[in-house]
């Protein structure tokens, strides 16, 4: 294995995971555990309790609506159906924008309809708090997995993990290498100042834009989802145990940086779908975006895909938000055991590898091994390799349960900075006051 490959495979495991490994044993033990896991479950066999009776499970997720990811999941389900006859998986759910609402409305109406529920980092917490999730610790134990990413810690209660990540997304800087080459940019930015400079050099309005990030109030979820990442260059947090921190220096710097990019490099007024099209047409040079987006671009912008690259985050800490998306089992459903069997099938090392590579994901939830060749075939992966992941609860504190309301207050004030030239300090001071009132009302 070359040095590069070693670095890549090591780095793509979550950092805390590596620390955990160092504490508990050697890397060899980890590899052994993964191998043992693989040997224990070379093929799936339904437990005796399920045999002779066909069960149909509803799997609620937004994946069915995402190009690339949908095909990967349908393939895995075909494999699951081929491996046994007792359990069938039925597609359920809604597109991402409506999915969380659908689940919450189901909860309010009395309970979850689905046996398996795909979750986001926020939704999993809500379901956990509402006592809707079955423990999946037995799945992990039965597969002998000892290297589960510590990103699961926040959904582990009394040593029982209540969801297993099937997609980890992390923010990185994707760029169109063709545009960089055309502009004669050969040295990639290594600092925030250089990043600004290069982005401005790549901007030639109205034909080309150096950078895109969601910035419209008509897309509040995207706006807030991406804006949170802009605090990372300054090691900022939006809230912590002391309360909201939006008037802190790192956040002021983050909003100022966002404003600079907005003024000089963004395609102002472009919504997400327009920007995706502009990106596909080679009109946008860079995006600070999650790794999972590449899978969509492979399908939606096949001509651009070969030119997509990423570069190391141009800030010293390399800190970036990683979001796990755990699959969960409805604890109050009628088919808990059967649902766990499907999760077990997915988490069997060879199946998990298959799922990860078909989804074009790059961060395994446990040390599954055998991915070096796959990683070496992804030229756009470079910039995601040395990222230091942080989780949404790390940057939102207890406000994670009210993430959208918090975000709405922030983006209202940030919009004033962007479009009405309101001073950043003044706008964020008002946001801080509003968020403190929110915290007071919520008892945080």
């Amino acid at each position: 294995m070359s040095t590069d490959e070693t670095t890549r495979s090591t780095i793509l495991r979550p950092k805390l995971n590596r620390r955990h490994l160092l504490k508990t044993g050697s890397a060899a033990a980890v590899a052994g555990a993964a191998t043992i896991g693989a040997k224990r479950s070379p093929a799936f066999a339904a437990p005796a309790v399920l045999q002779g009776e066909q069960i149909t499970l509803r799997y609620g997720t937004w994946f069915w609506y995402e190009p690339g990811r949908a095909e990967a999941w349908r393939y895995m389900i075909e494999q699951f159906h081929a491996a046994q006859n007792e359990i069938r998986i039925e597609e359920s759910g809604a597109p991402f924008d409506e999915f969380t609402n659908n689940i919450i409305v189901q909860l309010q109406a009395g309970g979850l309809d689905d046996d398996l529920v795909q979750t986001t980092p926020d939704l999993v917490l809500r379901l956990l708090r509402a006592g809707q999730l079955a423990s999946l610790q037995d799945v992990i134990d039965s597969l002998g997995i000892t290297t589960l990413s510590p990103a699961h810690d926040y959904i582990t209660v009394d040593g029982q993990v209540h969801g297993l990540d099937v997609v980890t997304v992390v923010f990185g800087l994707l760029y169109n290498a063709q545009l960089f080459e055309d502009e004669g940019i050969t040295t990639l930015p290594a600092s925030v100042e250089e990043w600004v400079e290069v982005s401005q050099a790549l901007t030639s309005r109205p034909d080309q834009f150096g950078m895109y990030s969601a910035h419209l109030t008509s897309e509040p979820e995207s706006f807030w989802f991406q804006l949170q990442e802009w605090a990372m260059p300054f090691d900022g947090v939006w809230a912590n145990e002391a309360g909201p921190q939006v008037n802190s220096e790192p956040i002021i710097n983050a909003v100022s940086l966002f404003k600079t990019f907005y003024d000089t490099t963004f395609p102002q007024g472009s919504d997400d779908s327009t920007a995706t099209r502009q990106w596909g047409d080679g009109q946008i040079a860079q995006q600070l975006i999650v790794s999972a987006a590449v899978n969509v671009y492979r399908t939606s912008a096949p001509e651009l895909y070969p030119h997509i690259r990423s570069y190391s985050l141009p800030w010293e800490s390399k800190r970036s938000i990683a979001r796990i998306h755990p699959i969960t089992v409805n604890a109050n459903g009628a088919n808990v055991d059967a649902a766990k069997e499907f999760v077990k099938f997915l988490y069997t090392p060879e199946n998990y590898r298959e799922l990860l590579t078909r989804q074009l994901d790059v961060i395994p939830a446990y040390d599954v091994g055998g991915l070096d060749e796959y990683f070496s075939d992804l030229p756009w992966l470079t910039g995601y390799e040395d990222i230091s992941p942080t989780t949404p609860p790390d940057i939102m504190g207890d406000f994670i349960f009210n993430n959208q309301e918090f975000g709405q207050i922030v983006i209202n004030r940030v919009t004033e900075v962007l479009t009405a030239d309101r001073p950043v300090e003044e706008a964020m001071a008002q946001a801080q006051q509003e968020l403190e009132e929110l915290g007071g009302r919520l008892g945080l």
């Binding site: 809500r126 379901l127 109205p206 109030t217 509040p220 007024g269 959208q404 709405q408």
Partner: protein
């Protein structure tokens, strides 16, 4: 074996019962006919209203049992500055849309009421904005108003004082004007058609008499036409108020209530509170407040109409 007499008796009894049924039917019939609509209204309208009202007196957390909150949600509402801002925006938006949509509707109806070549085609074309579905309309407008490549900028830049492409949906004032303009554009054909129908009921003898008496077209309009169509205009004002009050799709898709709450009406606020912030009981209290606002507006207009009717004898 049944005898002939017994058969005849049975037939007579059947006839008598049939007669009774027929006599009873007229009494029952209205209730039977109304039953489906009463059931529908009860299940799909009254029950949800009751639940909404009830929710506003509780505190609900997702997946947790609800707790009695008394008037806490209403106390919070009265002290919520954002709520009062939203109410203000809602009222201004309603007034602006009423003025723009009915104003343009009246103007276009007056034009289309005159005889000219191609009038039928013009009338048909005028109705098009009203017939377009909301979502595709918004998507097209998002492109038209895009600050980078929106076609509207070509025309805006012809104005001497505009040097840069305006940020139509990003600047709070422009966003409000844009949203009102699009709402009015989408709705005016309906008002225009109704006013057009009303204009055709204005007695031509009165207009001719006014003309003979030397009235100018403007004087004839204000002295004859406008009073004749004013009941219709009043009704349309009530309808426009209700339509604009409950407008959600256009606002949400165009601006999401932003920027900085500039286009956030009560309906948008209720949606965000319930389905983004999951604060269902407070959203229910906001819903009750919105209902009271709509009711007040409707009652004011109805009172004005009743007064007009009384004055007209």
């Amino acid at each position: 074996m049944t005898t002939r007499a017994e058969t005849m008796t049975a037939t007579a009894v059947d006839r008598a019962l049939e007669g009774q049924r027929r006599r009873r039917l007229p009494w029952l019939l209205p209730y039977l006919l109304a039953l489906p609509i009463i059931a529908y209204e009860g299940v799909f309208i009254l029950y949800p209203i009751y639940q909404g009202l009830r929710s506003s007196f509780f505190r609900q957390q997702i997946g947790m049992p609800e707790e009695w909150a008394g008037l806490a949600n209403y106390e919070r509402l009265l002290g919520d500055t954002a709520f009062w801002g939203v109410m203000g925006t809602t009222i201004i938006y309603m007034v602006a849309v009423i003025a723009a949509a009915i104003g343009v509707g009246l103007g276009s109806a007056l034009v289309l009421n005159r005889a000219f070549r191609g009038r039928t085609l013009a009338r048909a074309m005028m109705t098009m904005p009203w017939s377009f579905p909301d979502v595709p309309t918004v998507l097209v407008f998002l492109w038209i108003l895009n600050p980078s490549f929106g076609v509207i900028n070509v025309f805006a830049r012809l104005l001497p004082w505009i040097e840069e492409n305006p940020t139509w949906l990003l600047d709070p004032r422009l966003a409000f004007v844009s949203v009102v303009g699009i709402t009015a554009w989408k709705g005016f054909p309906f008002y225009s058609l109704v006013i057009l129908a009303a204009l055709q009921t204005v007695p031509s003898e009165l207009l001719e008499a006014a003309k003979i008496d030397g009235a100018s077209p403007r004087q004839a309009f204000f002295a004859v036409t406008l009073p004749a169509i004013s009941p219709t205009l009043l009704l349309l004002t009530v309808l426009a108020a209700i339509f604009s009050f409950k407008q959600f799709t256009l606002i949400w898709l165009l601006t999401g209530g932003g920027p900085s709450g500039a286009t956030e009406t009560i309906v948008v606020r209720i949606y965000s509170t319930a389905f983004r912030f999951y604060d269902f009981s407070y959203a229910a209290a906001l819903g009750v407040a919105g209902f009271l606002l709509a009711l007040t507006v409707s009652l004011v207009f109805l009172a004005v109409q009743r007064r007009q009717d009384m004055e007209a004898g």
